[in-house]
């Protein structure tokens, strides 16, 4: 449930679902997101779900904070908004040329790289949100023993397809971009397809994701 709604500037609602970051809270955020989107409320523009927040921006010419807050306060989330989570398997190659930060992680986590990969590939991840750059999924939660801080100085260019780890989360760089996550491999899959107007994102909030290790040979000959 929404714990508190405040204003973010004069043209957005800031809905706070509480301090906790877990699947349960995030599932609530996503339910609200889907319900509000379906309602097509006049004046509502972007709706951005994240771990435990939902930001609803609006056109100040058509509606204002107090009016929209009333609408959102009275929204009911019905059982039918329970949509099935999609399951996905994403191939990842961990050859040296792709696992840019595996040595750093071995040191920080005090684990051998085979152990890091073993734990990583055994996990089923939950997609909390997508964004920052188009299509980038934020996936959780990594086991405690794999949690590391981001790089002290972010890379200017992280290659497209890179799989990164930071704290309890994993992400996938949908295209080349600056970034500071610990890179452990690369996927040949296209995570964001801007030729698809309807569903350009491969991974969406609420989806369940597992990673599968592939050889370099398979990586190079990968056809979707």
């Amino acid at each position: 449930m929404i714990k508190n709604i405040s204003n973010l500037g004069d043209a957005a609602l800031y809905c706070d679902f509480g301090k906790e970051v877990n699947r349960e809270t995030n599932t609530q955020v996503i339910k609200y997101f889907k319900t509000i989107r379906k309602k097509n409320i006049l004046g509502v523009n972007n709706i951005t779900p994240s771990y435990n927040k939902l930001i609803i921006s609006f056109d100040l010419k058509k509606i204002n904070f107090n009016k929209l807050k009333k609408v959102i306060d009275n929204i009911e989330i019905t059982k039918s908004d329970n949509t099935q989570n999609k399951k996905l398997e994403i191939p990842v190659c961990c050859e040296e040329e792709f696992s840019l930060d595996i040595k750093r992680l071995e040191e920080i986590l005090n684990l051998k790289k085979e152990k890091i990969y073993e734990n990583f590939f055994a996990k089923e991840f939950f997609c909390y949100m997508t964004g920052f750059i188009a299509g980038m999924p934020f996936l959780g939660d990594l086991e405690e023993n794999l949690r590391a801080k981001r790089l002290d100085t972010p890379r200017v260019k992280v290659p497209k397809g890179s799989i990164g780890l930071t704290e309890q989360f994993a992400n996938i760089y949908s295209f080349e971009s600056p970034g500071g996550w610990n890179i452990i491999g690369n996927t040949p899959l296209n995570i964001f397809d801007n030729s698809k107007e309807k569903e350009p994102n491969l991974v969406n909030p609420g989806d369940l994701v597992t990673f599968k290790r592939i050889t370099k040979d398979k990586y190079q000959n990968y056809h979707e």
């Binding site: 972007n46 921006s57 904070f65």
Partner: protein, 314 residues
């Protein structure tokens, strides 16, 4: 076949196709984009007889130098811009907020913006563009939008697929004013900052850094001390949000900003001041002034009324 096009002699620093942008895709990570200065964008279109969501060329600092090939067409430039039109040996000094007619082989040289960053070129016709998510707006960082998501480059052609045959003779008296006090509403993490930090934010002057672009405007000044945590759980952003990064300096999110961010939000620029904010050139000195939500809403109504009144005068 009627072939009308601009030949690009010089593309300019950052010339892109823009319209009203995309306002419904943050949840998949696609930024707003669109013309930075909405009022000047709308005025350019009205001066050339277009509707309010019609692609224009936005340029920053130095604009494009174009040679026109085709049948006569109206153009208009808005902003604070110096430009010239060459008709054979005849050199015409360009004036903003006024329609001109370009004929075959005429040249339009948009020399530079003056005390501002962005200017707009609208034509009485349609550029031949591919739209993405119902907008031409170009985001060069994510390669989204027309022209393959890239800025205009030298020696390329800009095709025009349709020309409106009703010639305009429009003019507007309007002078852009520069903003010194940026009005803001306190942000959701305002209390992350020390009393001294809050005072610095509202009392001290900040300088617009050179590291500013369509994604964000960085500011330099006295450091704003964070007493809670320099990172927050990543969450959604909107245009105008002022984040304070770990180094203690503010950065304002502009139209191409990433959709999610993890720095504390000290404030949000009010909607009424956004157009003027984006026009601040590097080196400009600004102060932040606090307003409440009610005042911000009233100020936006006034801003919108003024924009509508300018449009109705054309």
């Amino acid at each position: 076949m009627n072939k009308n096009y601009f030949e690009i002699i010089r593309a300019g620093i950052n010339s892109t196709f823009q319209d009203l942008g995309r306002n419904h895709l943050y949840h998949i990570g696609i930024p707003f984009s669109g013309a930075m200065d909405n009022r000047n964008y709308l005025l350019a279109n009205k001066l050339t007889g277009n509707n309010h969501n019609h692609p224009v060329i936005e340029f920053a600092y130095q604009g494009p130098h174009l040679k026109y090939h085709g049948s006569p067409i109206n153009i208009a430039i808005t902003g604070d811009v110096s430009f010239e039109i060459k008709k054979g040996d005849n050199l015409i000094d360009g004036k903003c907020y006024q329609s001109f007619i370009l004929e075959n082989n005429d040249e339009l040289d948009i020399i530079s913006t003056n005390k501002s960053v962005y200017g707009y070129l609208a034509i009485s016709g349609k550029f031949d563009l591919k739209f993405q998510w119902s907008s031409c707006s170009t985001n060069t960082k994510a390669n989204i939008g027309s022209n393959n998501g890239k800025k205009l480059s030298n020696n390329q052609k800009i095709n025009i697929k349709e020309i409106n045959q009703n010639f305009m003779n429009t003019k507007l008296n309007y002078v852009n004013t520069k903003i010194e006090n940026i009005r803001v509403i306190k942000g959701t993490n305002f209390d992350y900052f020390s009393e001294e930090g809050k005072k610095i934010f509202f009392k001290n002057e900040f300088k617009v850094s050179k590291l500013s672009d369509r994604m964000g405007m960085r500011l330099e000044g006295k450091k704003i001390e964070n007493i809670v945590e320099t990172n927050i759980r990543s969450e959604g952003l909107i245009k105008g949000v002022i984040q304070v990064t770990a180094d203690g300096f503010p950065i304002i999110m502009l139209s191409d900003h990433g959709t999610i961010g993890g720095y504390p939000k000290i404030g949000v620029v009010i909607s009424a001041d956004y157009d003027k904010l984006v026009q601040l050139t590097p080196g400009s000195r600004v102060k932040f002034q606090e307003v409440d939500l009610n005042s911000a809403e009233t100020l936006f109504k006034l801003y919108d009324l003024e924009t509508q009144s300018l449009i109705s005068k054309i």
